[in-house]
């Protein structure tokens, strides 16, 4: 049962990611990106990372995607001003690079039958993340707040600058 859901949501995530890259209109790309994020959140649930799955939906499918669609709406590019996907040569080289790298990686990480080891009770819930986050990684956690503050102030400063 888990394997069925795994392959279903993996196919959804990969298909939507392909849609992001190969659709010309950025609005369509943004909607595909949201689909990919939601499918990944389901994969996170299958990995027993319940808290991270919720955060994924809130932060990515919520905040980041709203930011993307906001910018697309503010710019409001007319259809003919959208950049082309790529010049023929660049596109062919990019796809060829991807295919070669995929063959290489498929040789290394081909899916095997082996499953996961059983986990202890309470793995992936809020407590099991909060304890290391506020003990060993307390400094890193405080620094993330600084990163976000710089992000907010920097974004406002950049976007409001008179040019």
């Amino acid at each position: 049962m888990q394997a069925v859901f795994f392959w279903l949501f993996s196919a959804l995530a990969v298909g939507c990611a392909l849609g992001v890259v190969f659709k010309k209109n950025p609005v369509v790309s943004a909607v595909f990106l949201m689909g990919s994020m939601l499918a990944l959140a389901c994969l996170f649930l299958l990995l027993d990372a319940h808290f991270i799955a919720v955060i994924q939906v809130l932060v990515y499918a919520g905040a980041v995607m709203v930011l993307f669609s906001f910018i697309i709406m503010i710019l409001n590019l007319p259809q003919e001003e959208l950049p082309p996907l790529a010049l023929g040569g660049t596109r062919a080289w990019g796809v060829a690079f991807g295919a070669v790298a995929l063959l290489f990686l498929a040789g290394k990480f081909f899916p095997t039958k082996e499953g996961f080891m059983p986990t202890s009770r309470g793995f992936g819930d809020v407590r099991s993340i909060a304890v290391p986050l506020f003990r060993e990684y307390a400094l890193a956690f405080e620094l993330t707040s600084l990163v976000l503050l710089v992000g907010i102030v920097g974004a406002v400063l950049l976007a409001k600058r008179k040019v």
């Binding site: 990969v14 710019l75 790529a86 991807g98 499953g115 406002v156």
Partner: protein, 100 residues
Amino acid sequence: MAGPSSYMFVAAILFLIGAVGVVVRRDLIVILMAVEIMLNAVNLQFLAFARQLGQSEGQVFVFMVMVVAAAEAAIGLAFVLLLYRTRKTINVDNINLMQG
């Protein structure tokens, strides 16, 4: 059963799609989206190993990656806005001021 190798396979495919997107696309907004796909592929990998090793530290790292990704998206999109106001384009081929 879907084990760690299956998750690594899917994460590798997603990362490659993101990398190809950065190379292939000319639209700065979509390039940022492709970067988000790559970050998500890394998150999936982290969570798969956290599950395999039964340790929550991997999930803590995913949390950190998400924070940095959110900040990166905000700053990157502010740049896109500023760039569009000054140069009237978001095509990376036309942004060649620093090209030697």
